[in-house]
Symmetry: none
Subunit: 208 residues, 4 copies
């Protein structure tokens, strides 16, 4: 009954990780403090002790998620080999990261469908940085006359939106083929294949 862990860091981490899953699975409103507390074996009051309130926890969760994705993509891309390489890295890294952390796309879509109502500034920043990164790659490609006719925002959406949908629709796509077999929903396409496919298509789009 008395966990008495007395390990602030551990407790905080447990809360963040558990609630990330719950928030992404059930959404912000449908996730209750009680539920989170029970799921991580922590007293409910600790959530408020550490994160002030539910919105604060949500913010922390989003920041955590975005920071990590951002770190990953940035770090992998920081070499600036060549716009095409960089582009490939961007797509693959994002795709694989999302696959490993499938709650992220759900969180993002949810936030976007909310026009960023809860979206705290840090998250907003993170998303902008991600886009800024792609923007830079594309701009560099244009400068080198590799890419043509570039509308970065739309290209960004085509990459990120597709990957997000691919991940969040997985259960639906399964259900779909169960109903109508000959509808090819790419259900068992693996992520690497998809990332590659997208990369090739984007290449075509950019006139490479």
């Amino acid at each position: 009954m008395q966990k008495k862990t007395r390990d602030a860091q551990a407790t905080k981490a447990k809360i963040i990780n558990t609630s990330m899953i719950l928030f992404s699975t059930n959404g912000y409103d449908a996730t209750t403090a009680d539920e989170i507390a029970k799921a991580c074996g922590v007293n409910k009051a600790m959530i408020f002790y550490y994160y002030k309130n539910k919105a604060g926890l949500y913010g922390a969760v989003l920041s955590h998620a975005l920071e990590s994705i951002h770190d990953e993509v940035i770090s992998k891309d920081k070499e600036y080999l060549h716009p095409l390489e960089d582009l490939k890295n961007f797509i693959t890294t994002y795709a694989l990261y999302c696959e490993k952390n499938p709650y992220l796309p759900a969180l993002l879509l949810r936030e976007l469908s909310n026009s960023g109502a809860y979206l705290p500034d840090m998250m907003f920043d993170s998303m902008r940085k991600l886009f800024a990164l792609l923007s830079k790659i594309l701009k560099e490609g244009e400068k080198q006359k590799l890419f043509s006719n570039v509308e970065p925002m739309i290209i960004h959406f085509m990459i990120v939106g597709t990957i997000n949908l691919f991940i969040t629709t997985k259960p639906l796509r399964k259900k779909s083929i169960e109903i109508e077999e000959d509808l090819n929903t790419c259900y068992d396409c693996d992520m690497e294949y998809v990332a590659d496919y997208i990369f090739n298509k984007v290449k075509l789009m950019l006139g490479v």
Copy 2:
């Protein structure tokens, strides 16, 4: 108090239309029955009288929205001129419809980020039909050797996902340029331009 409509059809329509806006703006949980009732000048109990419960209303809203988009896209596309024409129609119609009814993309994204937890069968069906339509167009294009290397699900996501994101991120994109001017977020691109851009990119992608 003032209207005393006593017109079931009108009352039901008012409820559906109002709550569609509210649901898409604030989400399912954050939209209260009180709010809906007040917003359409109808007694709260009428919501339950007509739709049994909140989930029932939500289902009705989703069905309504999807039915109408589906009808629109289908009807505009029913001529089957030529795969390329059909493709263009598909993209343009979807894009313009979403622009006119900007709550729809938000509703869709929200549902998807939920893996269709609330998503009633009719909605699921509607979404499948939309995809089936694009699938057919693409398949026909392949048969006529116009399109090559087609993965319909991914193409679908590239079209629909991009348009959805474009619409739902509008407020964010505005906020973004206010902060960092030289980041081109395509804020004042109009929908027709975007649809066209997407169409041209998809054409390239399909090897046309």
Copy 3:
């Protein structure tokens, strides 16, 4: 959809009979106007049209029930043959009537457990008349030196209470023997046997 019976008497009777069953089965509060209306295929508003409000309907139901039991017992007993005969008639008639109309005991017990909160005057009267009838029989028996040591109220309760419990506990008694076979709950005793048993015991009690 349009029943349009336009037969006031029939409609009223349907309402009374149906709601008697519902009230006795589920109790006053747990029985809704909607339920009654649906159960008798009558428009809900008619209930209020004919009985003013729910309490009014309940009153009508109770009156109806009590009137009929009272009529039955009185009429059977009106001959005044002999105190013992009269007593036997009283017990048997009441028991058999209750068996034929098993909702009555439930209604009575419920009312009593409410200390007659809803109990309208007419019902109160009816109950008093029933007791008055037994009182008279017992008094006559005493006068004829047949009965001795009579406390009419308690005798009344011993008769009426036992019969009421016997009927209302039927389902419980069944459940009970299913659990513990050798507990004799008189489950398949028929009413006539019970009435007779009670009569004989009351005779003993009265010193006959």
Copy 4:
């Protein structure tokens, strides 16, 4: 607001005791959570915190009531002096207990008039145990050739039903004599007298 008890046991007890009175006085449906909360100076949410829902509270109340009566009757009777003594004890203890806790009979009658719809298993058990106790006494009396012609269930009803009615009808009986003075409703009979009267009558019934 004033007490800040922070004493779970005390709070739970307050809720149980208060709601027992309210349930027995007004019935299950007519007793609201608000009312209970206010009556015991406890926040309404505590009811649900401790008892999950209204039905849970009701169950707890019934269990509590029955446990205590059962304990009392059993403990007073555990000596097994002599069937007749035991019988007298059974009747007297039950009668006096009910008089001290007059909500119990009302609760019981209400439950019975409901055929035990809410009646949770524990209550059902308790009632059975009470009857089992009387059954044993009667059986022993038969074995010792003291009692004859015993139908335990009916005898049980005659005892328990009479006492229950005597208590629950008290207000009605008062009202009755106010109307018709010469109707002897045993209004000021005290409980001991009644218990004694019943015992003597039961003795006669059993052929003692």
